[in-house]
Amino acid sequence: MHSAVRSLIFALSAAGLLLAANPSTAKPRIAGKTPAAAPAVFAGTAANFDSTVKPILSQTCMPCHNDRMASGGLDLAGFANIGSIGEQREGWEKILQKIRSGEMPPKGIPKPPASQVDAMSKFVQAEFEWADRNVKPDPGRVTAHRLNRNEYSNTIRDVLAVDFRAEKDFPSDDSGYGFDNIGDVLTISPVLMEKYLNAAERIAARAIGADPLPKPLEAQYHAKDKTIRRPDVSTIEATHRVEWDGEYTVRIGLPGERSADAKPVTMNFYMDGKLLQSRQVETKPSKLVYFNPYSDEELHLALPEGDHVFRAAFVNDDFVKGLSEKDAYSSKKNKYLDSITFVGPFASKTEKASRKKILICDPNSGPSCVEKIVATVARRAYRRPVTKAEVASLLKFVAMAMAEKQTTEQGIQLALQAVLVSPHFLFRIERDADANDPSKVHKISEIELASRLSYFLWSSTPDDELLGLAEAGKLRAPGVLDAQVKRMLADERAAAFASNFAGQWLETRNLDSVKPDPQKFPEWGADLRDAMKAETRMFFEWVLRENRPLSDFLDAKYTFLNDRLAKHYGIAGVAGPEFRRVELTTDQRGGILSQAAVLTVSSYPTRTSPVIRGKYVLQNILGTPPPPPPPDVPALDEKAVGSTGSLRQQLGVHRANAVCASCHNKMDVLGFGLENYDAIGRWRTMDGKFPIDASGTFPNGKSFTTPAQMSELLKGDLPEFSRCLTEKMLTYALGRGVERYDRKTLNDINAKLVADNYRFQTLLNEIVRSLPFQSRRGETPKKELAQR
């Protein structure tokens, strides 16, 4: 690492000299004398270009990529000079990638000798590096960032200890670059503003609880009204909106009885999948004489406001196993569940967590306490120290409520309501030294840095420790930032990073919207879906928290399973619903590409799609998303395809047609390599009547016959994968797209990763240390933007 730094310093000064000697990069340059230690860093000459690069371009590439044919939309006429490497960087990067991967030249065109290709590739690469080192460091600029729905909910949770689910109330956030935390795309509309106003009212009321409770109401969900769902004979489920935080009496209706010697059964009651209470229920006949045997169980629970899914179930109930559906709902033969009734709200006996958090002194003790309460809440909500004037303007709301003959607590509630609609709460805004001068690069303040960190790792507000360090100006002290990252990753709030970053990177969030065909996949259901989600999330968290190398994503021989998912995978010896780490002992599974969540979101509802899966790998693993198909995709020739060919035979057309083949050669091969997994990720060796053929040959000539062999080959692309992941994570961390000027940052992070054997936390640490994460600059005036 030391020598790398030294050579970098050398290169910078050498490049600086060159630049000084040759201010115009467009002109041919003099080759720098480069010591053997750093052979990659020099500026090529036009003569070198003509001897190393041009022959391949003109002899191999340009017969197709010329102004007449422009195959694939590419005419290389503008690329035949050394200046183009700097001017057409994106184009050259693509050329290099196609040549290195062996995708170009395509089959049928003679390949130049490997040594020549290698020399060309090195030359162009060196030019890139030369150029990158001469670029003035530019941290870019992050736009004022409106909290998205996740961030809003988490921030409310952490600031006020109130459970509010913005995703059920607010319109969905738009996303850009595959993520929903991109400042530029997070807009605000009157509908959303209205929601903010309503939410602030409700949240403040719930947090302080100063308003009188409404009269208790009863709501019943009953089988006979078809208002409950029955996922199976031992379970009933209802979606109920709790209108008010409070205590509720919940009654579970249990008609029927079993035989006199029947054992009690365990009844569980869940809210949104979380177990709230469990108790034993008698099932044998009661001594009472009923025409229709019936009993109910009454629970007393504190329920939070909002829409919830409630579920009551007899668990591990062997009694029903032998019963027909008819008998299962016969009150003579069975005791079963048929209704859920909610009565409430009643005043809570225990003090709410939110009150404890907010009312840090007795508000009735006088104005100084009220001021303290308001100032503390505002600081947390605004994520920064607040001024006296700001507190004073909030205290006006307390006075206003009291003038309306309301209580002090109701006054605090009103002030809180105002805080929650304020732009200081709803937006993360960073200040510039000079907002209109792009050359004014400066470090963001530590307070701003604290929020960047917490929204990156927690999707939430900085906690007292982090904000305290920033306020004291200690966050950038040696070692502090690293220690904070470490602490934050260990905190359970870091689960938000797994669900928000990984859920969008790997697209597993889409599991909520995919709908595998129930005819073809009757086993698909919420339990399986949730298990799939849990596997990928826990796997990601493990790689993160255990600081595993990135290669684990491609070939880890372990994963996380419960009984449901293990059965799905055909893995024996996993009992019980809780997830645990499982060592993978066969070649069938290993790495994320063999995880059911990934395989399901990259399939059609009825079948697998090698094209979608191939695109998925290119886009999310290798970082080389294919261009979309041309709009005038020619229809497949029906007669040639017929309805009897396997999918592979049908898609063979893709590769027979030269235009399609240029992309599909790689895409389809990657997809076929995963054909051993069906559309919900089960292992298979047959697709209908056709045997699975999961073999393939990459454009570079390397071939495989099983998914395990394919991921082994993909491991050879670890640098590409690492770069892809870095780009995605930098996008997510900054809340903006990766731009040209970020290239150096990406290169530097990757160099560190390589040096550190691709450890995952190194990636996070390096992003946090990077120039764009630590700094910002003024904005480029609009006129220049328009020209861009």
Binding site: D174, L197, D432, S513, D632, E779, K782
Partner: protein, 446 residues
């Protein structure tokens, strides 16, 4: 550009109608009973994605409507109340020089008439025609416009070939950079229109309103202070915020003035129905009440998103809609596309029936409306943008639109021409809109 100038000859301004009482409104909002008003004209857009199976959409004749095509069949009972328009085109939905991404582009262009910027970030299309109208007449109603939809936004992945999801998640654009997200959840729509279902006493409502106004004053002040020393993009974000605040203030004022809570006479819905038809009906039922009670006169309805892969199990179709439209001319796949297209029209027809059943003066709510039902792509397999499937229903008030016909325009006639004419009918007169080349002839047989 909007001008107040008198219009060219072939425009709508002719007789908006005599004074018509609104019997239903009278019953519902006593405050309004005293004043008799002209029935307002309502304008709306219902958008269906992924083009159509044009084989089963197109008609092979012009003039008076006879036998309808298979997909239009559900509209048969209303044949005399619709206009089928041919050859309307959105040139700005085409690639021009922007490469692939027809789904993203066509939806962004649909009501804006502009070519959306190909970007995942600094989104830009144009102000949509419904919003131009809402800006001008919106102050007359509680809500300048309503935006509805049935499908939740896609959460992850890219939306279409480098086009931000904002282009496919939204239909209405308040400004060229500010799309308006549709409300999807029936409960959210209910609460927006009719309050949260808890009947507040007039005093409690007045106090709530007072508090809300002071809070909005407070945040306006905060924002103005905050805005100093910000760069143009950040400023724009805060301007969006401020203009939303102002809009809410206006709504509050309006609600205070009307001083009436509308009783929708329906229970507050909970959650999103799993059944598509039920969801469609629930949303349009509430929209109907909103139109009837004059809570708004302008709406957009994004049935499902452009590029959607929703599977129509209701029809026994397990495949995603979008993959199906790339049917490679396989008859069994095209058949399914036709079924989905027809299913959408059927839901729409059900709503038309409802609108027709609501009396308003001498006619019906339907008679005083003009609603475009259309797709942003022509054929989902070909991704083309000419001869977009378009039906205009309703009479636009006072029997203005002469329906019951199919009109085929000259090839490449801009869709924007239709929208410009509709804007006229809403009394919002502009020299042009989007890529319009003029006004659309023949709607009123002049």
């Amino acid at each position: 550009m909007i001008t107040g100038k008198a219009l060219a000859r072939r425009t709508f301004l002719r007789g908006i109608g005599t004074t018509i009482a609104l019997p239903f409104l009278d019953a519902m909002t006593p405050a309004m009973a005293a004043t008799t008003a002209k029935a307002p004209v309502r304008m709306g857009f219902v958008y269906v994605p992924n083009g159509m199976d044009v084989r089963n959409w197109n008609l092979d004749y012009e003039g008076k409507l006879g036998e309808l095509s298979r997909i239009m069949k559900p509209l048969e009972p209303f044949k005399d109340d619709i206009l089928v328009l041919g050859n309307l085109t959105h040139n700005n939905g085409r690639a021009l020089l922007d490469g692939p991404g027809d789904h993203g582009r066509c939806c962004g262009a649909y009501l804006t008439g502009m070519q959306p910027r190909k970007t995942m970030v600094d989104i830009k299309a144009g102000i949509s025609c419904d919003q131009i109208v809402a800006n001008h007449i919106g102050n007359k109603t509680r809500f300048p416009s309503l935006e509805l939809g049935l499908e939740d936004a896609r959460q992850a992945g890219d939306c279409d070939s480098g086009y931000s999801c904002a282009y496919t998640n939204n239909l209405a654009w308040r400004s060229e950079t500010q799309p308006l997200p549709p409300v999807l959840d029936p409960r959210a729509l209910f609460e927006r229109l009719f309050g949260n279902g808890v009947a507040l006493s007039p005093e409690a409502r007045a106090l709530q309103s007072k508090y809300r106004r002071s809070i909005l004053d407070f945040v306006t002040g905060d924002t103005k202070k905050l805005e100093t020393n910000l760069g143009p993009t950040d400023k724009r974000k805060l301007e969006e915020y401020l203009s939303s605040v102002r809009e809410i203030e206006r709504q509050l004022e309006k609600a205070e003035k009307d001083n009436a809570q509308i009783d929708p006479k329906m229970p507050k819905p909970y959650g999103v129905p799993a059944d598509f038809a039920e969801h469609f009906k629930l949303m349009t039922d509430m929209l109907t009440i909103a139109l009837q009670a004059d809570l708004t006169r302008v709406f957009t309805f994004l049935v499902t998103r452009e590029g959607t892969s929703r599977a129509y199990r209701e029809l026994g179709i397990p495949d995603g809609h979008h993959p199906l439209t790339h049917h490679q001319n396989k008859p069994e796949l095209m058949e399914k596309v036709s079924q989905i297209n027809t299913y959408h029209v059927k839901q729409f027809a059900g709503w038309i029936e409802k609108l027709k059943s609501i009396q308003e003066g001498d006619g019906s709510l339907f008679d005083n409306s003009m609603i475009v039902y259309g797709a942003g792509l022509t054929d989902g397999n070909k991704h083309n943008h000419e001869d977009l499937p378009t039906v205009l229903v309703g009479h636009g008030g006072n029997n203005f639109i002469k329906t019951g016909r199919r009109i085929v325009y000259r090839k490449e006639t801009p869709m924007s021409n239709l929208f410009l004419s509709m804007m006229d009918r809403m009394d919002v007169h502009s020299e042009n809109f989007g890529d319009s080349t003029g006004r659309l002839d023949g709607l009123d047989l002049s």
